[in-house]
């Protein structure tokens, strides 16, 4: 195998030392976020992911149709999860349509 262990000095990160099945897809992000000693690799990945999530969430929120907002403020955070989910669905629909158009343009 070509599997390599990271440097010993980096083994303190909970993303690196936790073996077995205590980690999973559901709790991993929270565990990394609460870790005091993130290794360089996990720090970089986590920060990059967080920036991406923030940007994507920003585009979802600002893509909202203004006319339904009584305050007239598009940038406002949605009040509840259902609201955000609805916006997210609309956003994804638009994205899919956009991708389709791009494909057609290329051909």
């Amino acid at each position: 195998t070509t599997y390599k262990d990271p440097k010993i000095s980096e083994l303190r990160c909970s993303g690196c030392i936790t073996t077995g099945l205590s980690l999973n897809s559901r709790n991993f992000c929270k565990i990394l976020q609460s870790c005091q000693h993130l290794c360089d690799q996990h720090k970089v990945i986590l920060q990059t992911e967080m920036r991406y999530k923030r940007n994507l969430k920003g585009s979802i929120i600002s893509s909202k149709d203004c006319s339904t907002d009584s305050a007239g403020n598009c940038e406002e955070m949605p009040k509840n999860i259902a609201d955000l989910q609805a916006k997210h669905d609309t956003f994804m629909e638009k994205q899919t349509k956009k991708e389709k158009c791009n494909l057609e343009d290329e051909s």
Partner: protein, 116 residues
């Protein structure tokens, strides 16, 4: 070794690896019920969809590279492989991350699973 764990597999994952999961007593289920999400290609539409989902954006879900299954069932290093090394970030971020950390650990496992 995956006794009772519920896993979801992207269509990008080789059939052999799904079989390995089942052989090690893992259960294959749908995305909603799975505790472990595996993919071998973040650019695959089914994985991309997860990386754009609200669950992902709100830190409730992560995808892991399916090479974890090769690595963890390799007898020499069985207990010592941390799942955390196999985190699979969205495809559009990988180049940026690579620039800072070099290659991902899941890229260092180059030996494909030999067909039986």
């Amino acid at each position: 070794m995956f006794g009772g764990c519920r896993g979801w597999f992207s269509q990008s994952v080789a059939r052999e690896l799904c079989d390995l999961w089942v052989a090690e007593r893992g259960v294959i289920t749908n995305q909603e019920e799975a505790d472990y999400l595996f993919s071998s290609d973040a650019a695959h539409p089914d994985t991309k969809r997860i990386h754009e989902s609200l669950d992902y954006l709100e830190d409730r879900i992560e995808v892991f590279h399916s090479n974890y299954l090769n690595a963890s069932t390799n007898s020499e290093i069985k207990i010592t492989v941390p799942l955390g090394h196999f985190l699979l970030p969205p495809a559009c971020l990988q180049e940026e991350i690579r620039k800072q950390i070099g290659s991902f650990i899941w890229e260092q496992i180059t030996e494909p699973l030999k067909p039986q």
